[in-house]
């Protein structure tokens, strides 16, 4: 079973990972826009929204940067 898994993995090329990366990136942009819209239009307190958006975008940036680094490593 493990050998089968390895043979499947050997078919995966960096271009496939970049496609996944772009799809994930688009999804992230869309969801972030929706969340930002909600926070800044419907929230009653600015301070919580600022903390939430700061935390959200910081972690998101770290994850996306790490994804790009890993794809480069695989390449």
């Amino acid at each position: 079973m493990f050998d089968q898994l390895l043979s499947i993995i050997s078919f995966i090329k960096p271009i496939h990972l970049w496609i996944v990366f772009i799809l994930v990136f688009i999804y992230t942009i869309v969801m972030s826009a929706i969340l930002l819209f909600h926070w800044y239009h419907f929230s009653t307190q600015n301070k919580y929204v600022k903390i939430a958006s700061g935390l959200y975008f910081t972690v998101l940036a770290i994850i996306i940067f790490s994804l790009a680094v890993i794809i480069n490593f695989i390449t």
């Binding site: 972030s32 009653t44 929204v49 959200y56």
Partner: protein, 182 residues
Amino acid sequence: MKLHALEPGERVLAEVRHHWIFFSLELIAVIFLVAFPPIAIYSLIKFWQLALPENVIALGMFIYLVWLLLVWIYFFVAWTDYYLDVLIVTDRKIIDIDQKGIFHREVASFRLERIQNIGIETPGIFSTIFDYGHLRLETAGEQKTFELRNAANPYVAKDIIMAECEKNKAIFQHHKPTDGTY
């Protein structure tokens, strides 16, 4: 930032949300979703004593990071759902915002004079320990009952609403015309 239809000079007295314990259940689910895959994979590798090539490890990291990103977005969608589902008490009215998912919102507001009864239901031992309950506001009107389920500190919210209702009533009595006309 748009506050919901506040009149000039109107003050927000309180915001009543669901108790934090219900959001912490989401938090526990997120922690589990983050921690489970690496623990499970590490255990399997140790159990079968597998020696994985570097590329496979990197691919696993890639898949895990995509998973992390999806979980992170899910967490903030859940937080938004929790944070925007609120009952706003002002010195003139109550605004009941029911956030059902990310795109479905129901907003209703009614003036304090219309409140006829405020009810609180604490449904069990946990609600008594953690101080949460169902807050029901009965009004004179078409939609007669407004309910915020599992509201945090419902007795404090009730006291604030009652005090403001009394104030409004006193002002109303003070300005009542003596000839019986309104």
